[in-house]
């Protein structure tokens, strides 16, 4: 963890991107009419892992 705090400027963009992806995904899940499957599952997916928001954007939105 020392490395992380010492070089925070270098890692900050990573963290910001993660947070933005997460927020956009959550807002989208809330505002979208219908997701591919129950909405609450996608909220959990977005929370669970770093890849969650991306997985939601690719597979969670209904293609129509």
């Amino acid at each position: 963890m020392e490395v992380l705090t010492e070089n925070i400027q270098l890692f900050l963009p990573l963290i910001i991107i993660q947070v933005v992806l997460f927020i956009v995904a959550i807002i989208d899940i809330i505002r979208i009419k219908e997701t591919n499957g129950p909405k609450w599952i996608w909220v959990i997916v977005a929370f669970l892992s770093i890849l969650g928001p991306i997985i939601y954007f690719i597979f969670g939105r209904r293609r129509d």
Binding site: V3, N7, L21, I54, F57, R63, D64
Partner: protein, 259 residues
């Protein structure tokens, strides 16, 4: 201008489904992951632990061009996967939902319909790649040493040609195959088969599109764009155009049969 209207429709759609937000962010993420992990590898190994006391790990010093090559490898696998996944549903999805019928019932030419899709995805992919490589270039300059702005443009432009090919191939399969899943499957299969063939016949296939990353690396090492890179890029772009034209032809024939 019918074509502009169609392009606007595609761009609006990609904005509404948030692709214009998350695709650039993910490409940036992929482009800075490798410089960081490469640079901090000793510390990462240290914190993971499991090494016997007193182990000294000698890490080789990486030249900027080598880190660029590692990142291009990452973008060629995960980046290409993302590009295929965002493009795959563009025609099959509209066929399924009936949007393509709504559009094509009007006097819209098949060429306009498909080429507008092609351009809209290229804009998205090229813009994402621009930001990705820009941030990557910044990190390389901080962590590994000097990489000039011309070199940045070289990486961006020629890797963009490779992604143009990937978009074209996906749209081609999207007009041939009916199911979205199969589009992704065939596209990935084709790219893997191509890299295998390039690997086996490497002495004959000097200008295979799969060699673009290697030639970019070579150009960075040499300090100038090698002629092989220009030729390979030209061939790759040519194949992309050919794929676009043939996908319009195939799409035309298929729609005729249906209607």
């Amino acid at each position: 201008m019918q074509w502009m209207t169609l392009l606007k429709k595609e761009l609006l759609e990609n904005w509404r489904n948030k692709k214009w937000i998350w695709v650039p962010l993910v490409i940036i993420l992929l482009s800075i992951m490798d410089p960081l992990t490469t640079y901090f590898m000793p510390q990462i190994l240290d914190s993971v632990g499991g090494m016997p006391e007193g182990t000294v790990i000698e890490m080789p010093e990486f030249a900027p061009a080598e880190v660029v090559l590692i990142t291009l490898g990452q973008l060629s696998s995960l980046g290409v996967l993302i590009v295929v996944l965002i493009t795959m549903g563009t025609i099959t999805g509209e066929r399924k939902s009936g949007v393509s019928e709504l559009v094509l019932v009007k006097p819209v030419s098949f060429w306009n319909y498909i080429s507008a899709k092609w351009v809209s995805f290229l804009l998205l992919v090229w813009a994402s790649l621009f930001f990705g490589i820009l941030v990557h270039w910044y990190y390389i300059n901080i962590l590994f040493g000097n990489l000039s702005f011309t070199e940045f443009l070289t990486i961006f432009f020629f890797f963009g040609v490779w992604l143009t090919f990937v978009v074209s191939l996906t749209i081609f399969y999207s007009s041939v195959v009916k199911s979205t899943g199969l589009v992704a499957f065939f596209t990935i299969l084709t790219i893997m088969a191509m890299s295998l063939v390039t690997e086996i016949f490497q002495y004959v296939l000097d200008w295979s599109p799969n060699n673009l990353s290697d030639y970019i690396f070579e150009s960075l090492v040499n300090g100038e764009v090698v002629s092989d890179l220009w030729i390979t890029a030209g061939i790759t772009f040519g194949i992309s155009l050919l794929l676009l034209v043939s996908s319009v032809q195939i799409f035309k024939r298929k729609e005729m049969v249906i209607s």
